[in-house]
Protein backbone atom coordinates (compact mmCIF):
# COMPACT_ATOMS: atom_id res chain seq x y z
CA UNK A 1 0.00 0.00 0.00
CA UNK A 2 1.20 3.53 -0.70
CA UNK A 3 2.69 5.44 2.20
CA UNK A 4 1.20 8.77 3.13
CA UNK A 5 1.60 11.55 5.70
CA UNK A 6 -1.31 12.42 7.95
CA UNK A 7 -1.49 15.21 10.50
CA UNK A 8 -2.73 14.48 14.00
CA UNK A 9 -3.43 17.87 15.52
CA UNK A 10 -3.16 20.71 16.30
CA UNK A 11 -6.75 19.97 17.30
CA UNK A 12 -6.85 16.31 18.21
CA UNK A 13 -7.86 14.56 21.45
CA UNK A 14 -4.57 12.65 21.45
CA UNK A 15 -2.36 15.72 21.66
CA UNK A 16 -3.28 16.95 25.20
CA UNK A 17 -2.60 20.46 24.03
CA UNK A 18 -1.88 22.35 20.88
CA UNK A 19 0.68 20.65 18.66
CA UNK A 20 0.86 18.55 15.57
CA UNK A 21 2.14 15.05 15.15
CA UNK A 22 2.76 14.27 11.51
CA UNK A 23 2.55 10.54 10.99
CA UNK A 24 3.66 8.64 7.92
CA UNK A 25 1.54 5.54 7.61
CA UNK A 26 1.67 2.41 5.50
CA UNK A 27 -1.86 1.10 5.84
CA UNK A 28 -2.36 0.91 9.59
CA UNK A 29 1.34 0.84 10.47
CA UNK A 30 3.30 3.93 11.55
CA UNK A 31 6.45 4.24 9.42
CA UNK A 32 7.74 7.67 10.40
CA UNK A 33 6.75 10.54 12.66
CA UNK A 34 7.59 14.21 12.90
CA UNK A 35 6.40 16.39 15.80
CA UNK A 36 5.70 20.04 15.11
CA UNK A 37 5.62 22.32 18.16
CA UNK A 38 5.41 26.02 18.89
CA UNK A 39 1.68 26.66 18.55
CA UNK A 40 1.47 28.31 21.97
CA UNK A 41 4.97 29.80 22.13
CA UNK A 42 4.62 32.88 24.32
CA UNK A 43 8.26 33.97 24.52
CA UNK A 44 8.53 33.59 28.29
CA UNK A 45 12.33 33.73 28.15
CA UNK A 46 12.22 37.13 26.47
CA UNK A 47 9.45 38.44 28.72
CA UNK A 48 11.52 37.47 31.78
CA UNK A 49 14.35 39.75 30.62
CA UNK A 50 12.13 42.74 31.36
CA UNK A 51 10.77 41.58 34.71
CA UNK A 52 12.31 41.57 38.18
CA UNK A 53 12.98 38.39 40.06
CA UNK A 54 9.71 38.33 42.00
CA UNK A 55 7.57 39.02 38.95
CA UNK A 56 9.09 36.15 36.99
CA UNK A 57 7.68 33.64 39.49
CA UNK A 58 4.21 34.39 38.17
CA UNK A 59 5.25 33.63 34.60
CA UNK A 60 6.91 30.39 35.64
CA UNK A 61 3.70 29.27 37.32
CA UNK A 62 2.00 29.52 33.95
CA UNK A 63 4.53 27.34 32.16
CA UNK A 64 2.54 24.23 32.97
CA UNK A 65 -1.12 24.25 33.82
CA UNK A 66 -1.07 20.83 35.47
CA UNK A 67 2.03 21.33 37.58
CA UNK A 68 2.39 25.04 38.34
CA UNK A 69 3.99 24.75 41.75
CA UNK A 70 6.92 22.59 40.66
CA UNK A 71 7.77 25.08 37.91
CA UNK A 72 7.77 28.15 40.09
CA UNK A 73 9.91 26.30 42.64
CA UNK A 74 12.28 25.23 39.91
CA UNK A 75 12.77 28.87 39.01
CA UNK A 76 13.11 29.99 42.63
CA UNK A 77 15.90 27.50 43.36
CA UNK A 78 17.90 28.77 40.40
CA UNK A 79 17.36 32.37 41.49
CA UNK A 80 18.49 31.57 45.01
CA UNK A 81 21.62 30.06 43.53
CA UNK A 82 22.16 33.28 41.56
CA UNK A 83 21.51 35.64 44.48
CA UNK A 84 23.19 33.36 47.06
CA UNK A 85 20.28 33.34 49.47
CA UNK A 86 20.14 30.97 52.40
CA UNK A 87 16.61 29.73 52.94
CA UNK A 88 15.25 28.97 56.44
CA UNK A 89 14.75 25.28 57.02
CA UNK A 90 11.09 25.62 57.88
CA UNK A 91 10.48 27.27 54.51
CA UNK A 92 12.23 24.35 52.79
CA UNK A 93 9.87 21.91 54.52
CA UNK A 94 6.82 23.95 53.53
CA UNK A 95 8.10 24.02 49.96
CA UNK A 96 8.56 20.27 49.98
CA UNK A 97 4.94 19.79 51.09
CA UNK A 98 3.76 22.13 48.33
CA UNK A 99 5.90 20.47 45.64
CA UNK A 100 4.92 16.92 46.53
CA UNK A 101 1.21 17.74 46.77
CA UNK A 102 1.52 19.30 43.33
CA UNK A 103 3.29 16.21 42.01
CA UNK A 104 0.40 14.05 43.20
CA UNK A 105 -2.12 16.42 41.61
CA UNK A 106 -0.18 16.41 38.35
CA UNK A 107 0.11 12.63 38.21
CA UNK A 108 -3.60 12.32 39.00
CA UNK A 109 -4.40 14.65 36.14
CA UNK A 110 -2.24 12.47 33.91
CA UNK A 111 -3.84 9.27 35.16
CA UNK A 112 -7.28 10.74 34.65
CA UNK A 113 -6.44 11.76 31.10
CA UNK A 114 -4.75 8.45 30.34
CA UNK A 115 -7.94 6.49 31.04
CA UNK A 116 -9.84 8.05 28.11
CA UNK A 117 -6.68 7.72 25.98
CA UNK A 118 -6.90 3.98 26.38
CA UNK A 119 -10.66 3.65 26.26
CA UNK A 120 -11.58 3.70 29.97
CA UNK A 121 -13.83 6.72 30.17
CA UNK A 122 -14.98 6.42 33.79
CA UNK A 123 -11.47 6.73 35.23
CA UNK A 124 -11.26 10.44 34.49
CA UNK A 125 -13.84 11.41 37.14
CA UNK A 126 -12.37 9.09 39.76
CA UNK A 127 -8.94 10.67 39.45
CA UNK A 128 -10.26 14.21 39.36
CA UNK A 129 -12.11 13.54 42.61
CA UNK A 130 -8.83 12.96 44.45
CA UNK A 131 -7.07 15.70 42.53
CA UNK A 132 -9.70 18.03 43.93
CA UNK A 133 -8.52 17.22 47.47
CA UNK A 134 -4.94 18.09 46.55
CA UNK A 135 -6.07 21.26 44.84
CA UNK A 136 -7.96 22.29 47.98
CA UNK A 137 -4.83 21.84 50.06
CA UNK A 138 -2.72 23.79 47.58
CA UNK A 139 -5.36 26.49 47.49
CA UNK A 140 -5.03 26.88 51.24
CA UNK A 141 -1.30 27.47 50.77
CA UNK A 142 -1.22 29.66 47.69
CA UNK A 143 -4.64 31.25 47.63
CA UNK A 144 -5.70 30.33 44.11
CA UNK A 145 -6.70 27.12 42.45
CA UNK A 146 -4.32 26.54 39.58
CA UNK A 147 -1.47 29.05 39.65
CA UNK A 148 -0.33 29.51 43.21
CA UNK A 149 2.60 31.95 42.99
CA UNK A 150 3.62 30.41 46.29
CA UNK A 151 7.43 30.53 46.62
CA UNK A 152 9.39 33.72 47.15
CA UNK A 153 13.09 34.34 46.71
CA UNK A 154 14.32 33.35 50.16
CA UNK A 155 11.32 31.42 51.40
CA UNK A 156 7.60 31.11 50.92
CA UNK A 157 4.71 33.52 50.70
CA UNK A 158 2.78 32.27 53.71
CA UNK A 159 3.12 29.78 56.53
CA UNK A 160 0.86 26.74 56.76
CA UNK A 161 -2.60 28.03 57.72
CA UNK A 162 -4.34 26.99 60.94
CA UNK A 163 -5.54 23.42 60.78
CA UNK A 164 -3.67 22.66 57.56
CA UNK A 165 -1.54 19.80 58.98
CA UNK A 166 -4.63 17.95 60.22
CA UNK A 167 -6.50 18.40 56.96
CA UNK A 168 -3.44 17.46 54.94
CA UNK A 169 -2.82 14.30 56.96
CA UNK A 170 -6.46 13.25 56.69
CA UNK A 171 -6.63 13.85 52.95
CA UNK A 172 -3.28 12.27 52.17
CA UNK A 173 -4.15 9.20 54.22
CA UNK A 174 -7.49 8.92 52.46
CA UNK A 175 -5.68 9.28 49.16
CA UNK A 176 -3.24 6.49 50.06
CA UNK A 177 -6.23 4.20 50.54
CA UNK A 178 -7.86 5.27 47.33
CA UNK A 179 -4.76 4.57 45.22
CA UNK A 180 -5.77 0.93 45.62
CA UNK A 181 -9.01 1.72 43.85
CA UNK A 182 -7.14 3.00 40.82
CA UNK A 183 -4.91 0.01 40.77
CA UNK A 184 -8.01 -2.17 40.80
CA UNK A 185 -9.60 -0.09 38.06
CA UNK A 186 -6.57 -0.19 35.81
CA UNK A 187 -4.83 -3.45 36.55
CA UNK A 188 -8.02 -5.51 36.33
CA UNK A 189 -9.28 -3.85 33.18
CA UNK A 190 -8.58 -6.10 30.22
CA UNK A 191 -9.01 -3.20 27.85
CA UNK A 192 -6.31 -1.23 29.64
CA UNK A 193 -3.85 -4.11 29.80
CA UNK A 194 -4.30 -5.00 26.14
CA UNK A 195 -3.74 -1.43 25.07
CA UNK A 196 -0.67 -0.76 27.23
CA UNK A 197 1.27 -3.97 27.71
CA UNK A 198 3.86 -4.59 25.04
CA UNK A 199 3.20 -1.24 23.41
CA UNK A 200 5.66 1.62 23.00
CA UNK A 201 8.90 0.03 24.15
CA UNK A 202 11.62 2.51 25.17
CA UNK A 203 15.14 1.27 25.86
CA UNK A 204 16.87 2.63 28.99
CA UNK A 205 20.21 3.55 27.41
CA UNK A 206 18.52 5.11 24.41
CA UNK A 207 16.32 7.18 26.69
CA UNK A 208 19.35 8.59 28.55
CA UNK A 209 21.04 9.50 25.27
CA UNK A 210 17.86 11.15 24.03
CA UNK A 211 17.59 13.21 27.21
CA UNK A 212 14.43 11.55 28.56
CA UNK A 213 14.26 11.94 32.35
CA UNK A 214 11.92 11.56 35.29
CA UNK A 215 9.25 8.87 35.62
CA UNK A 216 9.62 7.93 31.95
CA UNK A 217 13.26 7.02 32.53
CA UNK A 218 12.68 5.27 35.85
CA UNK A 219 10.08 3.10 34.14
CA UNK A 220 12.96 1.67 32.11
CA UNK A 221 14.87 0.45 35.15
CA UNK A 222 17.18 3.44 35.52
CA UNK A 223 17.10 4.48 39.14
CA UNK A 224 17.90 8.12 38.49
CA UNK A 225 16.24 10.99 40.27
CA UNK A 226 17.62 14.52 40.67
CA UNK A 227 16.29 14.46 44.22
CA UNK A 228 18.90 11.91 45.26
CA UNK A 229 21.62 12.48 42.67
CA UNK A 230 21.94 16.23 43.21
CA UNK A 231 19.83 16.79 46.33
CA UNK A 232 18.26 20.17 46.97
CA UNK A 233 15.84 21.38 49.61
CA UNK A 234 15.39 18.90 52.44
CA UNK A 235 14.99 15.74 50.39
CA UNK A 236 18.13 14.38 52.05
CA UNK A 237 16.43 14.61 55.46
CA UNK A 238 13.47 12.40 54.64
CA UNK A 239 13.25 8.65 54.30
CA UNK A 240 12.18 7.84 50.76
CA UNK A 241 13.23 5.90 47.72
CA UNK A 242 12.48 6.77 44.12
CA UNK A 243 10.21 4.16 42.57
CA UNK A 244 11.83 2.23 39.76
CA UNK A 245 10.30 -0.41 37.52
CA UNK A 246 11.87 -3.66 36.45
CA UNK A 247 10.99 -3.41 32.79
CA UNK A 248 11.33 -6.22 30.27
CA UNK A 249 14.36 -6.89 28.11
CA UNK A 250 12.82 -4.81 25.31
CA UNK A 251 12.57 -1.73 27.51
CA UNK A 252 9.78 0.13 29.24
CA UNK A 253 6.28 -0.17 27.79
CA UNK A 254 3.25 2.00 28.48
CA UNK A 255 2.25 -0.22 31.38
CA UNK A 256 5.61 0.34 33.12
CA UNK A 257 5.20 4.07 32.76
CA UNK A 258 1.78 3.83 34.38
CA UNK A 259 3.09 1.68 37.25
CA UNK A 260 5.99 3.98 38.06
CA UNK A 261 3.70 7.01 38.34
CA UNK A 262 1.31 5.26 40.68
CA UNK A 263 4.24 4.28 42.90
CA UNK A 264 5.59 7.81 42.74
CA UNK A 265 2.29 9.16 44.03
CA UNK A 266 2.63 6.84 47.02
CA UNK A 267 6.16 8.07 47.69
CA UNK A 268 5.10 11.70 47.42
CA UNK A 269 2.20 11.14 49.82
CA UNK A 270 4.56 9.55 52.34
CA UNK A 271 7.00 12.43 51.94
CA UNK A 272 4.24 14.93 52.72
CA UNK A 273 3.34 13.05 55.91
CA UNK A 274 6.99 12.87 56.98
CA UNK A 275 7.63 16.53 56.25
CA UNK A 276 4.62 17.56 58.36
CA UNK A 277 5.98 15.51 61.26
CA UNK A 278 9.52 16.79 60.99
CA UNK A 279 8.85 20.46 60.35
CA UNK A 280 11.11 22.66 62.52
CA UNK A 281 9.01 24.63 64.99
CA UNK A 282 6.13 22.20 64.55
CA UNK A 283 3.58 22.12 61.76
CA UNK A 284 0.87 23.66 63.96
CA UNK A 285 2.61 26.94 64.68
CA UNK A 286 1.86 29.86 62.45
CA UNK A 287 4.20 32.69 61.49
CA UNK A 288 3.08 35.92 59.93
CA UNK A 289 4.08 36.45 56.28
CA UNK A 290 7.62 37.85 56.13
CA UNK A 291 8.70 36.25 59.41
CA UNK A 292 12.40 35.22 59.31
CA UNK A 293 11.31 31.63 60.04
CA UNK A 294 9.73 31.38 56.60
CA UNK A 295 11.31 34.15 54.54
CA UNK A 296 14.96 35.18 54.41
CA UNK A 297 16.04 38.59 53.18
CA UNK A 298 17.15 38.47 49.60
CA UNK A 299 18.87 41.05 47.41
CA UNK A 300 16.79 42.21 44.45
CA UNK A 301 19.72 42.78 42.09
CA UNK A 302 22.26 40.32 40.80
CA UNK A 303 25.82 41.56 40.19
CA UNK A 304 27.27 41.61 36.68
CA UNK A 305 28.66 38.31 35.43
CA UNK A 306 26.96 36.05 37.96
CA UNK A 307 24.83 33.11 36.98
CA UNK A 308 22.63 30.61 38.71
CA UNK A 309 21.54 27.16 37.63
CA UNK A 310 19.47 24.47 39.19
CA UNK A 311 18.38 21.02 38.12
CA UNK A 312 14.96 20.16 39.52
CA UNK A 313 12.84 17.03 39.53
CA UNK A 314 9.62 18.17 37.93
CA UNK A 315 6.56 15.92 37.67
CA UNK A 316 7.58 15.13 34.08
CA UNK A 317 11.33 14.90 34.39
CA UNK A 318 14.30 17.11 34.95
CA UNK A 319 13.43 20.77 34.56
CA UNK A 320 16.10 23.40 34.74
CA UNK A 321 16.63 27.12 34.85
CA UNK A 322 19.81 28.95 33.94
CA UNK A 323 19.73 32.62 34.91
CA UNK A 324 22.37 35.23 34.14
CA UNK A 325 22.41 38.33 36.35
CA UNK A 326 22.19 41.71 34.74
CA UNK A 327 24.29 44.07 36.85
CA UNK A 328 23.61 47.74 37.52
CA UNK A 329 22.88 48.67 33.92
CA UNK A 330 19.85 46.42 33.70
CA UNK A 331 18.36 47.32 37.05
CA UNK A 332 16.57 44.47 38.72
CA UNK A 333 16.14 42.40 35.56
CA UNK A 334 18.11 39.31 34.66
CA UNK A 335 20.18 39.37 31.47
CA UNK A 336 19.04 35.99 30.23
CA UNK A 337 16.69 33.32 31.52
CA UNK A 338 16.95 29.93 29.90
CA UNK A 339 14.47 27.14 30.58
CA UNK A 340 14.87 23.42 30.10
CA UNK A 341 11.53 21.78 29.62
CA UNK A 342 11.55 18.01 30.09
CA UNK A 343 8.71 17.45 27.64
CA UNK A 344 10.36 19.53 24.90
CA UNK A 345 13.11 16.93 24.86
CA UNK A 346 10.86 13.92 25.46
CA UNK A 347 8.25 14.55 22.77
CA UNK A 348 10.64 13.89 19.83
CA UNK A 349 11.69 10.65 21.50
CA UNK A 350 8.10 9.62 22.24
CA UNK A 351 7.32 10.21 18.57
CA UNK A 352 10.16 7.86 17.62
CA UNK A 353 8.78 5.20 19.98
CA UNK A 354 5.64 4.95 17.86
CA UNK A 355 7.38 3.75 14.74
CA UNK A 356 6.37 0.19 13.99
CA UNK A 357 3.12 0.26 15.95
CA UNK A 358 -0.43 0.75 14.68
CA UNK A 359 -2.17 4.08 14.32
CA UNK A 360 -4.53 3.09 17.14
CA UNK A 361 -1.55 2.77 19.50
CA UNK A 362 -0.50 6.40 19.05
CA UNK A 363 -2.76 7.85 21.80
CA UNK A 364 -1.68 5.12 24.23
CA UNK A 365 2.02 5.70 23.59
CA UNK A 366 1.90 9.49 23.48
CA UNK A 367 -0.31 9.69 26.55
CA UNK A 368 1.97 7.43 28.57
CA UNK A 369 4.81 9.97 28.30
CA UNK A 370 2.63 12.65 29.93
CA UNK A 371 3.02 15.52 27.46
CA UNK A 372 2.31 19.06 28.61
CA UNK A 373 2.42 21.65 25.87
CA UNK A 374 2.46 24.73 28.08
CA UNK A 375 5.99 24.01 29.26
CA UNK A 376 7.10 22.59 25.92
CA UNK A 377 6.38 25.74 23.94
CA UNK A 378 7.18 28.23 26.71
Amino acid sequence: MAEMWISMGPQHPMTHGLWTLKVKVDGETVVDTEPDLGFIHRGVEKICEARDFTQITTYCDRLCYASANTWSHSYIYATEDLLEVEVPERAEYIRLVAIELQRIASHLMWLGAYGPDTGNLSIMVWCLREREMMMDLLQELGGSRLHYNFPRVGGVKRDLPHGFPQRARAKVNLFLNRIQEYEALFDESTVFLVRTQGVGYAKPEEMVNHGVTGPNLRAGGVNYDVRWAHPYGVYSELDWEPPVERSSIKGADCYDRYRVRVEEMRQSANMVLQALDKMPGGADTYHEPGDPMILAKAPSRAPEGTSGAHHFEDSRGESMFYIVGGGESRGKHPYRVSIRSPMFITIPYAAKCMIGYKVADIPAIMGSFDPCIGETDR
Binding site: V208, G211, Y232, G233, R246, M320
Partner: protein, 219 residues
Amino acid sequence: MSKIVPIKVQKAEAEKLAAAVSQMAGVEAEVVERVNGTHPRPVVVGNSSPESWRALAEMLHSEHGVDHCSMVTGIHWPEGDADKKWEVIYHLMRIAVRDPPIEDGLVRPIIVDPSKVKGASTPLELEFHVHLPDTRTPSVDSVQDIWVGADWNEKETWDLVGIDFDGHQGMRRVLLPHETPKGYHPLQKQHHLRYHGFEEMYDDSQGFMRKPADADRIK
Protein backbone atom coordinates in the same frame (compact mmCIF):
# COMPACT_ATOMS: atom_id res chain seq x y z
CA MET B 1 17.56 8.93 56.44
CA SER B 2 17.23 8.91 52.80
CA LYS B 3 19.63 7.31 50.42
CA ILE B 4 21.49 10.06 48.63
CA VAL B 5 24.83 10.31 46.88
CA PRO B 6 27.63 10.83 49.43
CA ILE B 7 28.96 14.32 48.97
CA LYS B 8 32.60 13.29 49.46
CA VAL B 9 32.48 10.72 46.66
CA GLN B 10 30.77 13.17 44.35
CA LYS B 11 33.28 15.92 45.07
CA ALA B 12 36.27 13.64 44.57
CA GLU B 13 34.86 12.46 41.23
CA ALA B 14 34.16 16.02 40.14
CA GLU B 15 37.72 17.09 40.95
CA LYS B 16 39.15 14.11 39.12
CA LEU B 17 37.12 14.94 36.02
CA ALA B 18 37.97 18.64 36.17
CA ALA B 19 41.68 17.85 36.42
CA ALA B 20 41.55 15.38 33.52
CA VAL B 21 39.64 17.78 31.29
CA SER B 22 41.96 20.71 32.04
CA GLN B 23 44.80 18.79 30.37
CA MET B 24 43.28 19.56 26.98
CA ALA B 25 44.43 22.63 25.07
CA GLY B 26 41.93 25.47 25.26
CA VAL B 27 39.97 23.92 28.11
CA GLU B 28 39.99 24.89 31.75
CA ALA B 29 37.67 23.51 34.40
CA GLU B 30 37.21 23.73 38.14
CA VAL B 31 34.79 22.48 40.78
CA VAL B 32 32.31 25.01 42.11
CA GLU B 33 30.14 24.26 45.11
CA ARG B 34 26.53 25.31 45.02
CA VAL B 35 24.17 25.05 47.97
CA ASN B 36 20.42 24.68 47.76
CA GLY B 37 18.70 23.83 50.98
CA THR B 38 20.73 21.61 53.26
CA HIS B 39 22.96 19.86 50.79
CA PRO B 40 25.99 21.27 48.90
CA ARG B 41 26.29 20.25 45.25
CA PRO B 42 29.71 20.16 43.55
CA VAL B 43 29.49 21.23 39.90
CA VAL B 44 32.26 21.01 37.30
CA VAL B 45 32.32 24.40 35.58
CA GLY B 46 34.63 24.97 32.64
CA ASN B 47 35.48 27.09 29.63
CA SER B 48 36.33 25.71 26.24
CA SER B 49 37.55 27.38 23.08
CA PRO B 50 35.24 26.84 20.08
CA GLU B 51 37.98 24.83 18.32
CA SER B 52 38.40 22.28 21.10
CA TRP B 53 34.73 21.97 22.03
CA ARG B 54 33.98 19.04 19.72
CA ALA B 55 37.01 17.07 20.91
CA LEU B 56 36.11 17.84 24.51
CA ALA B 57 32.54 16.62 24.02
CA GLU B 58 33.77 13.39 22.44
CA MET B 59 36.17 12.82 25.30
CA LEU B 60 33.53 13.53 27.94
CA HIS B 61 31.16 11.05 26.36
CA SER B 62 33.58 8.24 25.62
CA GLU B 63 36.08 8.45 28.50
CA HIS B 64 34.18 10.05 31.36
CA GLY B 65 30.74 8.55 30.84
CA VAL B 66 28.92 11.88 30.52
CA ASP B 67 25.80 10.42 28.95
CA HIS B 68 23.14 13.12 29.21
CA CYS B 69 22.96 16.56 27.63
CA SER B 70 20.55 18.51 29.74
CA MET B 71 20.39 21.94 28.16
CA VAL B 72 22.03 24.15 25.57
CA THR B 73 21.76 27.91 26.14
CA GLY B 74 22.81 30.63 23.74
CA ILE B 75 23.48 34.18 24.90
CA HIS B 76 24.05 37.29 22.82
CA TRP B 77 26.47 39.80 24.40
CA PRO B 78 26.50 42.81 22.06
CA GLU B 79 28.29 44.90 24.70
CA GLY B 80 30.71 42.17 25.73
CA ASP B 81 34.45 41.91 25.05
CA ALA B 82 35.56 41.44 21.45
CA ASP B 83 36.17 37.71 21.96
CA LYS B 84 32.90 37.18 23.82
CA LYS B 85 30.06 38.49 21.74
CA TRP B 86 28.24 35.20 21.77
CA GLU B 87 28.24 32.45 24.33
CA VAL B 88 26.97 28.88 24.25
CA ILE B 89 26.50 27.08 27.55
CA TYR B 90 26.16 23.33 27.79
CA HIS B 91 24.69 21.76 30.89
CA LEU B 92 25.68 18.12 30.91
CA MET B 93 25.03 15.36 33.40
CA ARG B 94 26.44 11.98 34.14
CA ILE B 95 23.57 9.64 34.89
CA ALA B 96 25.97 6.70 34.75
CA VAL B 97 24.01 4.24 32.65
CA ARG B 98 25.93 1.66 30.71
CA ASP B 99 24.36 -1.58 29.48
CA PRO B 100 21.68 -2.15 32.09
CA PRO B 101 22.13 -5.67 33.43
CA ILE B 102 19.38 -8.15 32.62
CA GLU B 103 18.15 -10.93 34.88
CA ASP B 104 15.48 -13.42 33.78
CA GLY B 105 14.48 -11.15 30.90
CA LEU B 106 13.95 -8.16 33.19
CA VAL B 107 16.12 -5.06 33.41
CA ARG B 108 17.79 -4.86 36.81
CA PRO B 109 17.59 -1.34 38.28
CA ILE B 110 20.92 0.34 37.53
CA ILE B 111 21.62 1.89 40.89
CA VAL B 112 19.90 0.15 43.76
CA ASP B 113 21.35 2.09 46.66
CA PRO B 114 22.46 5.65 45.86
CA SER B 115 24.44 5.95 49.08
CA LYS B 116 26.83 3.26 47.85
CA VAL B 117 27.71 4.62 44.41
CA LYS B 118 31.37 5.13 43.68
CA GLY B 119 33.81 5.72 40.83
CA ALA B 120 32.36 6.09 37.37
CA SER B 121 28.78 5.44 38.50
CA THR B 122 28.64 8.64 40.56
CA PRO B 123 26.18 11.15 39.10
CA LEU B 124 27.83 14.44 38.18
CA GLU B 125 26.72 17.87 37.08
CA LEU B 126 28.78 19.74 34.46
CA GLU B 127 28.62 23.16 32.88
CA PHE B 128 30.79 24.22 29.93
CA HIS B 129 30.96 27.68 28.40
CA VAL B 130 32.04 28.29 24.82
CA HIS B 131 32.75 31.94 23.89
CA LEU B 132 32.50 33.06 20.29
CA PRO B 133 34.12 36.20 18.84
CA ASP B 134 32.32 39.07 17.14
CA THR B 135 30.67 37.77 13.98
CA ARG B 136 27.38 38.05 12.17
CA THR B 137 27.18 34.31 11.67
CA PRO B 138 28.06 32.72 15.01
CA SER B 139 28.44 28.98 14.92
CA VAL B 140 29.86 26.16 16.98
CA ASP B 141 30.31 22.44 16.31
CA SER B 142 27.19 20.36 16.79
CA VAL B 143 27.11 17.54 19.34
CA GLN B 144 23.82 16.16 18.05
CA ASP B 145 25.39 12.82 17.11
CA ILE B 146 27.03 12.38 20.54
CA TRP B 147 23.98 13.17 22.65
CA VAL B 148 20.73 12.96 20.72
CA GLY B 149 19.20 14.95 23.58
CA ALA B 150 21.11 17.99 22.28
CA ASP B 151 19.25 17.76 18.97
CA TRP B 152 16.19 19.82 19.80
CA ASN B 153 18.15 21.99 22.22
CA GLU B 154 20.39 23.07 19.35
CA LYS B 155 17.41 23.63 17.09
CA GLU B 156 15.90 25.85 19.74
CA THR B 157 19.14 27.79 20.28
CA TRP B 158 19.39 28.54 16.57
CA ASP B 159 15.70 29.36 16.36
CA LEU B 160 15.63 31.83 19.26
CA VAL B 161 19.23 33.11 19.55
CA GLY B 162 20.60 32.61 16.04
CA ILE B 163 23.72 30.62 16.91
CA ASP B 164 24.22 27.97 14.23
CA PHE B 165 25.59 24.48 14.82
CA ASP B 166 28.01 23.08 12.24
CA GLY B 167 27.11 19.57 11.21
CA HIS B 168 23.60 19.66 12.67
CA GLN B 169 21.23 17.56 10.58
CA GLY B 170 17.75 18.89 9.88
CA MET B 171 18.01 22.38 11.36
CA ARG B 172 14.61 24.08 11.34
CA ARG B 173 12.36 26.40 13.32
CA VAL B 174 10.88 24.61 16.31
CA LEU B 175 9.20 27.24 18.45
CA LEU B 176 8.71 30.13 16.04
CA PRO B 177 6.41 29.72 13.02
CA HIS B 178 8.00 28.01 10.02
CA GLU B 179 7.54 31.11 7.85
CA THR B 180 9.49 33.40 10.24
CA PRO B 181 11.80 35.64 8.14
CA LYS B 182 15.36 34.45 7.71
CA GLY B 183 17.73 36.05 10.19
CA TYR B 184 15.05 36.86 12.77
CA HIS B 185 16.05 35.47 16.16
CA PRO B 186 14.10 37.16 18.97
CA LEU B 187 16.51 36.55 21.85
CA GLN B 188 19.22 38.63 20.21
CA LYS B 189 19.58 41.83 22.15
CA GLN B 190 18.87 44.26 19.30
CA HIS B 191 15.24 43.15 19.55
CA HIS B 192 13.75 45.03 22.46
CA LEU B 193 10.55 44.20 24.18
CA ARG B 194 8.15 46.89 23.15
CA TYR B 195 8.07 48.52 26.59
CA HIS B 196 11.58 47.61 27.54
CA GLY B 197 13.40 49.92 29.94
CA PHE B 198 10.07 51.31 31.03
CA GLU B 199 8.67 50.59 34.45
CA GLU B 200 5.21 49.83 33.20
CA MET B 201 4.08 48.66 36.62
CA TYR B 202 4.69 52.06 38.17
CA ASP B 203 4.95 54.68 35.45
CA ASP B 204 2.06 53.64 33.29
CA SER B 205 0.01 50.99 35.01
CA GLN B 206 -3.02 51.57 32.79
CA GLY B 207 -0.98 51.49 29.60
CA PHE B 208 -2.29 54.81 28.25
CA MET B 209 1.17 55.92 27.15
CA ARG B 210 2.09 52.76 25.32
CA LYS B 211 3.25 53.11 21.77
CA PRO B 212 4.36 50.50 19.27
CA ALA B 213 8.14 50.12 19.00
CA ASP B 214 8.13 51.48 15.45
CA ALA B 215 5.82 54.46 16.18
CA ASP B 216 8.41 57.08 15.19
CA ARG B 217 9.21 55.45 11.88
CA ILE B 218 7.37 56.31 8.69
CA LYS B 219 5.24 53.39 7.60
